[in-house]
Symmetry: C3
Subunit: 108 residues, 3 copies
């Protein structure tokens, strides 16, 4: 068994969850925040059989299309004056996926 941790944009999370559930995947959903933009995003944890990992990743690829957006990262702790950086172009909307091994799975 593997545990998939997928961080997706909140705009895509409903669609992703519908497609994953329809394909028989089980998931637990967490509201999270991005470390860089400090904006809300969504993290999904999916425990699944080893041979279904590729299918889950496919669904994530198809649903979470990457797109670019101009943003101003938050001023850092050093103070708003010194560190207010120029707006930068970041790519958002994709999915960041980590697959980990599960040593033991128990369903009570």
């Amino acid at each position: 068994m593997k545990l998939i941790m997928a961080i997706v944009s909140s705009d895509d999370s409903r669609e992703v969850l519908n497609r994953l559930t329809k394909a028989g995947f089980r998931a637990t959903v967490i509201s999270t925040t991005g470390g860089f933009l400090r904006e809300g995003n969504t993290t999904l944890f999916l425990g699944t059989d080893d041979q279904k990992v590729a299918q889950a990743v496919d669904i994530l690829r198809q649903t979470c299309r990457r797109r670019t957006q101009w943003v101003s990262p938050l001023p850092t702790l050093e103070g708003p004056g010194l560190e207010m950086s120029e707006p930068i172009e970041v790519s958002v909307g994709g999915a960041v996926v980590f697959v980990m091994n599960v040593e033991q799975f128990v369903q009570v």
Copy 2:
């Protein structure tokens, strides 16, 4: 060391946490949402020695008794008219537990 991720129903989470803490386990608690029913549940992360995993799982088994409940899953993205399924009987209240290996543990 192992990291246990246990998803329990929110009704059971207080009791589970009391029993685990009393038995000397340390835990971090996250409010999460179920992918299928889209209802709130609770996820516990417990880092523990390898030989205490079985005891933690026992406490989860004893505290999270599984019971059945009739529910209508949310209408999916295709629109409320087409996909409104019949109420179905689901079993809730159990615990879903993943045990993963920890390569390094650091306490600052």
Copy 3:
């Protein structure tokens, strides 16, 4: 690739995140609750190359200084009368860090 799960006090989380981001780490932030004190804390998930784990742990060590505080743990489920324990001295403010192996990393 490794996935670092670091539980830090909420007071330290902004500073920690600033330093990690400045050092080029990527992170996802979750508002969590401590199992014992039932107070809010912050959990960071950081996916990073194997050889950068030590640097991330260093930043956590430098930023999350441990300090002691007197607290009364919540009365447990057995009832406020019976289990109201004496205030105890706990050390807070440190960081609890788990490093796990990532079998597959996908960025869509």
